[in-house]
Amino acid sequence: MTSLRVAVVGSGPAGMYAIQHLLEQSLFDVDIDLFERLPTPWGLVRAGVAPDHPEKKLIADRLFRFFLKRDNVRFFGNVEIGSDISHDELTASYDAVVYAVGASDDKPLAIPGERLPGSCSAREFVAWYNGHPDYRHLQFDLSGPRAVIVGTGNVALDVARMLTLPATALARTDIAEHALEALQASHVNEVIVLGRRGCQQAAFHNPELEELLHLDGVEVQIEADDLLPPEQTDADWDTRRKLATLIRLQARRVAAPVKRIVFKFHRSPIAVSGDTHVTGVQVQTRVGSGSPRSGLPRYGSPGSGSPGTIDCGLLLRAIGYRGRALPGLPFDLQTGVISNVAGRVMDGSVPRTGVYVTGWIRRGPRGVIGSNKQCAAETVGCLLADARAGKLSRRSDDPVAQALIANQRQVVSFGGWQRIDRTERLAGSARGRPRIKQTDIGELLTSAGR
């Protein structure tokens, strides 16, 4: 049996599922090194999944953790590929490198005023409330009564919930301390969610929408001209479920509501108002019912309704993440992914031998956590096929460790992460919370080395 040395870059679901498939094959003895830029693993499971979704975070404990406990898997936390170790050093030391770095940018609205203070991406807001070390210093203006979210995906709903959940509910989660304090002091009592298309095209999923039925003290309003009873549409089953829930939300009466979420569909932001800070967003109504049977254009087109301004002090765009280019790797600017076919990185029509991608940086930012499992199965399948065909080789054995020593980098091992994990959980149990996240790199490294 031949041995295969594989580097995986990024320890979110994409990287972890790649490791799972490498561990589950029996053609090769495999040694895996996992590189993670942060001292902490799990990517968006830690820094993306909403604090009030603790069930989804179980995947780290019930699945991913076991891969890192294997003797043939090493975790290198606090190591950045591209600065601590170059891409070339990595490819020289491994038979194969799998990039699973996710999507660390977001799509712009491309409207005037978008860069004004007070206008941010939901991605940044999410990273902030989840305690991502790079975003802990951000400040969001929660002093006004209204926030506007552009986009109707699950991220938009996560953010809407975080802005409206009662402080007591937030305080039972693993939300970052700085965000808990800021949200407890928040004056936002109305969150407007703008959808460019109709409610039948909204990207949120049913479970996320249904959660709004259970928000204490929060009433939900829906403005949509395509909100039809499900039996009157020929929309697909998922959409009919959403329509039923939207109708239920609209009919729901909340005793003594303290906050409100308002969905406005068929509305496009056309400009952000304000001189030195966001004061509002100009919005245009779009014509066209979303109903495929209406005979009108399926998607609204701009330019019909008269523009109006919605006053707000905070504008969050939640219209999609976007991949970021990595030095030395071909990048498709159009789609925001590393150029690839089925996970093999491609220079034009030529595969870059031994270099692979999986997850969002391969296929773009869509799908749920498990979508990355199927994605990784295909990528690892290509890797193994190339190995069987004798295409993979390495020039040297393990110079990576030497490079890290030369850089005096404090590497966080899996044991180091377990010490961080224990510290956070202990701090949390004293306060009736699942954990209190450490968000400062220095503090995390201290805990890891303790």
Partner: protein, 92 residues
């Protein structure tokens, strides 16, 4: 008594891989998988063995009679998923 997949499902499909009677859909080979919000258990085929409960990485699977209150309607959601092509008013 059948098992039911509730809201926490992240479509990891470990359940599909272990189900001895192949009653969980969609699987990764199904055309529906790409856009699937979650997996569903066909209550008419489930034999109640509970193997899926063990492998679910997010503990999303419950016995139909022990669903938490906020997810009680998922018994109907799972059932409805398998009836969606035969009825128009199947939405739970």
């Amino acid at each position: 008594m059948p098992f039911v997949i509730a809201a926490p499902c992240v479509a990891d499909y470990s359940c599909v891989e272990v189900c001895p009677v192949n009653c969980i859909s969609p699987g990764p080979q199904d055309p529906d998988f790409q856009n699937a919000e979650q997996m569903y258990i066909n209550p008419q085929q489930c034999i109640g063995c509970g193997v899926c409960v063990e492998v679910c990485p997010v503990a999303a699977i419950y016995g139909a009679d022990s669903l938490p209150a906020k997810w009680r309607h998922y018994a109907q959601v799972n059932r409805s998923y398998f009836m969606q092509r035969t009825r128009a008013d199947d939405v739970p």
